[in-house]
């Protein structure tokens, strides 16, 4: 009997000490710690992993040059699977590990959930991909910055393009039911309705990952829409476009920067020709962007994925601001982010009062000969 008691307490003690050991691993105190949070597993991993790779590349570069302010930069990588509840958990984990700044999160929902926690602890958070307008426009989150334009700006551009340049009258608005896609589609619909110059003949959400989209395609055809404005990411967009073209429909396809991705063209191949997509101002000639993509190819053997350049720019902006501020102090760094221009693959950027990037302009692109060309 006695031995059981002892065994019980021993095992408890072991478990306890393991927990303590895990939780108390102190990190190198002198390094500058950047939290990288986003979806690194699960179905949205393909939007989170490129950011991680971008951060790794930038940090490797900077550390090779001796770090900033004489300190090495260290990444603390956490996976939030794009779920709000996991995001809050890892936000508090990053805080416990005393990060200085956070690169992330990837999805708007997870970002919103985690921001409340970062805000209370005055941690600067910069997302390469969270486009929900409220994040900056509500003024609730002074610690939030992003290197991507918000949904309404993109929707406005898409609608203006369709109305003023293409002079379309009947438009179908589709989205992928996601936070990003649906938000964008709602703005597009709102702007179209307000303009009174075109009719929204169809407003639908498609189910991402569904095995087939023929029914929706038939519906578009039946509605006699001249164009489709699609809010969402490239996998669904390429399926839609391919099916439409295979069914011999020449409906104009206008989409967002979730689609303005080389993968879209490569997946959709010849069917991608003629598709419009909004995206950050042309960076294909920007030597920094080319260098970043090359570095990715060299390190990982493949082309960079979604939001890679945004993340690259965000990491650079964060680290640059820390360097210019001369410390990791919240006020100083925020100030530096708002005043100091930094050279990134997206161009020369700084941030406005609300946290949106200035200098990250948007323009319309069209696929021509297997490449996105800016429409002037």
């Amino acid at each position: 009997m006695k031995s059981t008691v002892i065994r019980l307490f021993l095992s408890l003690a072991v478990i306890l000490s393991i927990i303590i050991a895990i939780s108390c691993t102190k990190l190198q105190s002198r390094s500058i710690r950047v939290g990288v949070a986003g979806a690194h597993s699960g179905d949205l991993a393909s939007y989170g992993l490129p950011t991680l790779k971008a951060a790794e590349l930038v940090v490797k570069d900077i550390n090779a040059k001796g770090g900033i302010l004489g300190r090495k930069v260290e990444l603390l990588v956490e996976d939030d699977v794009c779920k709000p509840e996991v995001a809050t958990n890892i936000a508090s984990k990053l805080l416990s590990n005393e990060v200085h700044v956070v690169l992330g999160h990837i999805c708007s929902g997870a970002t919103k959930a985690a921001l409340g926690i970062y805000k209370e602890s005055k941690i600067i958070t910069m997302s390469p991909s969270a486009t929900n307008p409220q994040l900056t426009q509500s003024g609730n989150y002074p610690n939030f910055f992003r290197t991507i334009a918000s949904d309404d700006a993109q929707a406005k551009l898409e609608v203006d393009f369709a109305l003023d340049i293409l002079k379309l009258k009947k438009i179908a608005v589709l989205h992928d039911k996601g936070d990003y896609g649906k938000g964008l589609a709602e703005f597009a619909k709102e702007f179209l309705d307000k303009s009174g110059r075109a009719e929204v003949v169809l407003y639908e959400g498609i189910t991402p990952g569904a095995v087939d989209y023929s029914a929706v395609i038939q519906k578009i055809k039946n509605s006699e829409a001249e164009a489709v404005i699609y809010g969402g990411y490239h996998p669904e967009a390429s399926k839609l476009v391919m099916l439409m073209r295979k069914k011999k429909m020449d409906t104009v396809f206008i989409s967002d920067d979730g689609v303005k991705d080389m993968t879209f063209i490569k997946v959709a191949g010849e069917y991608a020709e003629g598709v419009y997509a909004t995206g950050p101002k042309d960076v294909s000639k920007n030597p920094l962007a080319i260098a970043a993509a090359d570095a990715h190819k060299k390190a990982y053997g493949s082309d960079p994925g979604a939001f890679f350049l945004n993340a690259y720019a965000a990491t650079q902006a964060l680290l640059n601001a820390i360097e210019k501020a001369g410390s990791t102090d919240y006020k100083a760094v925020t100030n530096a982010l708002r005043t100091e221009y930094v050279d990134t693959p997206l161009g020369k950027i700084r941030f406005d009062e609300r946290g949106d990037a200035i200098g990250v302009g948007f323009s319309m692109y069209q696929v021509k000969n297997g490449e996105y060309a800016e429409v002037k």
Partner: protein, 409 residues
């Protein structure tokens, strides 16, 4: 001689796995650039790894089988360890004392992150206990339990957003809404059994999520509801740090309350009726138990806890959107119940801690985390199919009379 055949077996296993993993692990194509990458090194890893693992695997299978035989032989003399702990006051009281000291001091020793995940684990304890009523006791396989969780969360989210109602006011409302939806689901599926029930509940869970996702005017769609109030402390709003600790203690209280209620429920008239229904529906009806009422009460009482936890979930994360309520979540809660041991309260508690804390501590393995999680689920089930703590059936003994007839099963 035996050694040689063992090596041969492992060798064959290793060849087999090298063959099996060849296209996925060794070749990586880039169909866009038309490049093929051969990663022969992976093949060596797989070969060596499966060679060693197959030894371990066979050894453990043998252990399990001999264990089973031994168990059968001296079943009556050896009660399981946990049950013995519960029955022996000398063990039970110090254990409880240690656990409560640990529980109380936890937030003061560990970081906010640790407290946070512990709160999450406690939430899953309650969710597991709730689902245990439906699956473990009443034997109704429910794959859409997360729907009630969502109902609770949105009850608080919406009431808080539109009317500014506080956590304490909504907590009972969330529980009530959970129960209501439990009955709503219960009615149409009364006639179904087994896996048909499972797929309908799965569908129900998906329907709730899809409605929340699509019905923008009602639920704000996929962008969710932000800035939900944290629970107030006698009317005062707490800082983030204090709120974390506060929710932790709140959660401990709710978990204890749940354990107490579920325990009482299990031994009550209705609890016995659930078990009877699980064992044999027809015999149960013949004994005069109202099948409809019993099943509905199981659904309703199970869903109540999910509704309550939903409210707490919304209050803890302060943001909700439909992405939190997917089928995988239901699967994890179900795994807690089965892994812990169906019908056993202690089992479910341990199951929840294992399954929720495990992925958190596996974060060290970063990208291999979910791979390991899946593997561990399989391994746990293979080597302990009855769960960590198997539910010991209530047996009654007559002192002095020798029972020789073996109980079936």
């Amino acid at each position: 001689m035996r050694k040689l055949s063992e090596i041969k077996k492992s060798f064959l296993a290793s060849i087999w796995f090298m063959f099996l993993t060849f296209p996925i692990m060794v070749i990586r194509v880039n169909p866009i650039e038309k490049v093929v990458e051969w990663r022969w090194r992976n093949m060596v890893f797989v070969g060596v790894g499966s060679f060693i693992l197959s030894f371990v695997w066979r050894y453990m299978i043998r252990q399990k089988e001999s264990g089973l035989k031994k168990n059968r032989a001296d079943d009556r003399h050896k009660t399981p360890f946990i049950q013995r702990v519960r029955e022996e006051r000398r063990l039970f009281i110090p254990l409880i004392a240690v656990l409560s000291v640990l529980g109380v001091s936890f937030p003061f020793i560990f970081s906010a992150y640790q407290v946070n995940i512990m709160t999450t684990a406690l939430m899953y304890v309650v969710l597991g206990l709730g689902l245990n009523i439906v699956v473990g006791l009443a034997g109704l396989l429910d794959l859409g339990y997360v729907a009630f969780y969502a109902v609770g969360a949105y009850t608080y989210g919406l009431l808080n957003h539109h009317f500014g109602l506080g956590f304490w006011a909504v907590l009972p409302a969330g529980a009530f809404m959970g129960a209501l939806f439990g009955i709503l689901l219960g009615f149409p599926v009364l006639r179904l059994r087994g896996d048909y029930l499972a797929i309908v509940t799965l569908g129900f869970g998906e329907i709730i999520r899809l409605v929340l996702e699509n019905w923008n005017d009602f639920s704000f769609g996929p962008s969710g509801i932000a800035n939900i109030d944290r629970p107030s402390f006698f009317g005062a709003q707490l800082s983030l740090q204090n709120a974390t600790v506060y929710i932790y203690f709140l959660m401990i209280a709710i978990a204890l309350f749940t354990v107490f209620v579920v325990n009482r429920l299990q031994n009550s008239r209705i609890g016995r009726a659930w078990v009877a229904l699980r064992e044999d529906e027809i015999a149960c009806e013949a004994m005069g138990i109202d099948k409809t009422k019993t099943k509905l009460s199981a659904f309703a009482l199970g869903a109540t806890w999910a509704g309550m936890m939903g409210v707490l979930f919304a209050a803890k994360t302060t943001f909700i959107n439909p992405a939190s309520f997917t089928f995988l979540e239901s699967a994890i809660i179900l795994s807690i119940v089965v892994l812990g041991g169906m019908g056993s309260i202690t089992g479910v508690i341990i199951g929840a801690f294992v399954l929720i804390l495990l992925p958190e501590y596996l974060r060290a393995f970063s990208e291999y985390r979910m791979l390991l999680f899946g593997a561990i689920l399989v391994i746990m089930m293979v080597f302990r199919p009855q769960g960590i703590i198997s539910n010991v059936r209530r047996t009654y003994k007559f002192a002095g009379i020798n029972i020789s007839g073996e109980q079936s099963k």
